[in-house]
């Protein structure tokens, strides 16, 4: 702690010799106390019947302004700017968290309604009205998404490796560009494409789990490529050069040096890609359809998936609608839980295998 008694230097261009070696600083508790003050002021406004949004906004603005002016007086403009940015980043984070938390609360609140044993062990075969379960849809979602991952992850990672490590010239530029384009394929178009593709071989009316996996792969591959590519690019070049200097062949360098370094990021990217497609409804609607009972063979006939199940339970509920709507929300909640589990696995994978480069 430097002393507060030191007078701040004048702002106008001090000569080098005038610059003091120490400068003023706010007391350690200044920021938290100001924050507390603003929050209290906000609460006061709230009690006076202002809308919560305005209270939060005014409290944040009040804190930012107070801290900025105070810090500017005592610490100078650089520190003041730093404090303002901290305030802005933090409040932006809180602001963004608001809708996200609201979505989560909505889903969890409504989704818990049907978290009973029947829901997880039964299918919808022969069920009207209350009861029924989504066992068939859970399996369908896992099978189809698993197949989609089996297709997309190798293709995506290999493509990223090509782009970063091998790709030169025109082909690489085309691939980079068209991978970007691919991220923009509307999901419903991916479904139509998969349907048209399989229709060529199997005739009209074909519905198979694998078609859904292909449609999802079309959506998933570009995400895997982009995420992996970014991560591979971030691997320091010195690592590669060190390996080359030891006469390690290029492919081994990539396998043993580059990929492990980027593994954590890649795992996150893959999880993200899975998360992106696992809740996809439109393409599965077209390519896989829906069925009420068990079908775990992705090469034969319709399968149920959680997203499609949830969609249909919502759009065409029976009379009364409540049991269907409960099932719809619970199925959606279940999807989130599945992704949560996947996420954990991805984190585990990256923690187990990634080299320890950072403390």
């Amino acid at each position: 702690m430097t002393s507060l008694t030191k007078t701040p230097t004048p702002q106008d261009l001090p000569a080098v010799s005038d610059v003091p070696l120490t400068h003023g600083s706010l007391p350690r508790r200044a920021a938290p106390l100001t924050l507390l003050g603003s929050v209290l002021a906000g609460l006061l406004l709230f009690v006076l019947d202002w809308s919560p949004a305005w209270c939060a906004l005014l409290a944040a603005a009040g804190y930012t302004l107070t801290v900025y002016l105070w810090s500017r007086r005592v610490e100078g403009s650089r520190k003041a700017t730093d404090r303002v940015v901290t305030a802005i980043v933090t409040s932006a984070f809180l602001l963004a968290l608001l809708p996200l938390v609201s979505v989560l609360i909505t889903v969890v609140g409504k989704g818990l309604a049907r978290f009973d044993a029947t829901f997880f062990t039964n299918s919808m075969r022969g069920v009207v009205g209350e009861g029924g379960g989504v066992h068939h849809a859970i399996m369908g979602t896992l099978i189809i998404t698993g197949l989609a991952a089996l297709i997309s992850v190798p293709v995506g990672i290999l493509t990223a490796i090509y782009l970063v490590e091998y790709g030169r010239g025109r082909l690489a530029r085309y691939i980079t560009f068209f991978v970007d384009v691919m991220t923009g394929i509307p999901s419903i178009v991916a479904g139509l494409f998969a349907y048209a593709l399989f229709e060529l071989f199997y005739g009209p009316g074909v519905r198979m789990g694998i078609m859904g996996a292909v449609a999802l792969s079309v959506l998933m591959i570009p995400i895997v490529v982009r995420a992996t590519e970014e991560m591979l690019k971030l691997v320091p070049n010195e690592l590669r050069e060190a390996a080359f200097a030891l006469a390690v062949p290029k492919w081994l360098t990539i396998l043993k040096v580059v990929l492990p370094t980027a593994l954590a990021g890649i795992a996150t990217g893959v999880t993200l890609a899975i998360a992106r497609v696992i809740g996809e409804t439109a393409p599965l609607l077209i390519a896989v359809g829906i069925t009420t009972g068990d079908n775990f063979d992705p090469f034969d006939g319709r399968m149920a998936t959680l997203s499609v199940f949830s969609y249909y339970e919502y759009v065409s509920p029976g009379v009364p609608p409540e049991p269907s709507l409960d099932r719809a929300w619970s199925a959606a909640f279940l999807l989130i839980i599945i992704v949560m589990a996947l996420n954990l696995v991805a984190r585990l994978v990256s923690r187990l295998f990634a080299p320890k480069t950072r403390a």
Binding site: T121, S123, G126, V127, V128, G133, M139, A149, V315, V319
Partner: protein
């Protein structure tokens, strides 16, 4: 460091595959077919039926029928445990297209086949004949959310002007004239329509065009023709938008109207609220469409009927099928399923689960021969 990196990277998807591989046991209500019957409460008398039917039946079409199809499937499957019936509620257009292309065994559609599609369907069924059955009748309610008002009497002309945004306030004279006992507030009307193309819209607009031709001059289609109102997706969307807003009015499947206020519609000189009987009555007094084949029961509903006790705003949805299928097993399945569908039990199951209006006995007697005619092609 023996394992290669791709191996590790594949560990993630492999783990997923493994986990479902281990857990891929069947649903507990399906693991034992003998004890399966308790699940289907739409099934009725399943115990004595010893069914020999087996196989898979695929259908696709109108989403309006979905809830009813679910009930029919449940009832049918309960009686025939080895059968699987699938119905994709992809929409009427998709249903017609897939049926004509031979992609499905049966189809559901909110509008009967017309023009080139009709010819396509006839060709698809050759050498047999095309069947169209009006097996699903659902009243459409005009719903509103107005504080303190539960029921309103409105004529077709007033409804048309409200939805055309010509009448814009609830205390308008035209509304007040039909509702002398109701205290109407000075509040703006927000009409709510479907934003998606739908059979419900088409049937509602058809009613307005037929019953109030002077006030409703827009083209009849499944697409809502008036711009500038509030629009929402699907029946649930409209119901929710009407519920959330104030002074809102919309149209939706009567079964989903819930606690909202509903309109009694002027037919002849009286005001009729929706009810299953009133809805099936309008089908009875309607005339079959002209130029159709023997088993093609397409109806032009008489929306402007003055018949006492008929409720003219109904959605009539058809089942499409053929009288002959190449495969004997499929033919048996289609026949049995349609038979169940139009039977009194089937109609009651749909009424319970989807709020539809059971077809009358006389209509059943008319369409029964079509179902009986289904057989395998020689």
């Amino acid at each position: 460091m023996k394992r290669t990196i791709p191996g590790r990277l594949l560990a993630l998807p492999a783990a997923i595959v493994l986990s479902f591989g281990l857990a891929a046991c069947s649903s507990s209500n399906e693991s034992d077919d003998e004890n399966n019957n308790s699940n289907g409460n739409g099934g009725g008398e399943t115990a004595e039926t010893t069914s020999e039917l087996s196989g898979t039946l695929n259908g696709a079409g109108a989403s309006s029928q979905d809830a009813a199809q679910q009930a029919w499937m449940a009832g049918f499957v309960a009686a025939n445990p080895d059968v699987t019936v699938n119905y994709d509620p992809v929409g009427s257009g998709g249903g017609r297209e897939q049926f004509v292309a031979g992609a499905t065994h049966f189809g559901g559609t909110d509008a009967y086949l017309a023009d080139e599609e009709l010819q396509g369907a006839i060709d698809r069924c050759a050498p047999g004949e095309l069947i169209e059955l009006p097996a699903y009748i659902s009243p459409i309610a005009v719903i509103f959310n107005l504080e303190g008002v539960d029921e309103l009497n409105l004529s077709a002309s007033t409804i048309a002007q409200i939805f055309d945004q010509k009448i814009t306030n609830w205390n308008d004279e035209a509304i007040a004239a039909d509702n002398p006992d109701v205290e109407l507030p000075d509040q703006a009307i927000t009409p709510v329509n479907r934003s998606d193309e739908s059979g419900t819209t088409e049937n509602f607009v058809e009613y307005l065009a037929a019953a109030a031709p002077e006030d409703w001059t827009h083209e009849v289609s499944g697409d809502w023709p008036v711009a500038g109102g509030e629009a929402a997706q699907g029946t649930s969307g409209v119901v929710q938008a009407v519920t959330n807003g104030e002074g809102t009015i919309g149209y939706a499947d009567a079964s989903q109207a819930g606690d909202l206020g509903t309109v009694k519609v002027k037919v002849g000189e009286e005001f009729v609220g929706y009810s299953p009987d009133a809805a099936s009555k309008v089908v009875e007094v309607s005339t079959p469409a002209e130029g159709r084949t023997q088993y093609d029961f397409a109806y032009d509903l008489s929306r402007d009927t003055t018949e006492s006790g008929a409720y003219p705003i109904v959605l009539l949805s058809y089942q499409m099928a053929c009288t002959s299928y190449e495969d004997a097993e499929t033919a048996e399945l289609v026949k049995a399923y349609l038979n169940y569908m139009i039977s009194p039990e089937g109609q009651q199951a749909a009424a319970d689960a989807a709020g539809s209006a059971p077809i009358s006995d006389s209509l059943r007697a008319q369409i029964q021969p079509a179902v009986d005619a289904i057989s395998a092609a020689e």
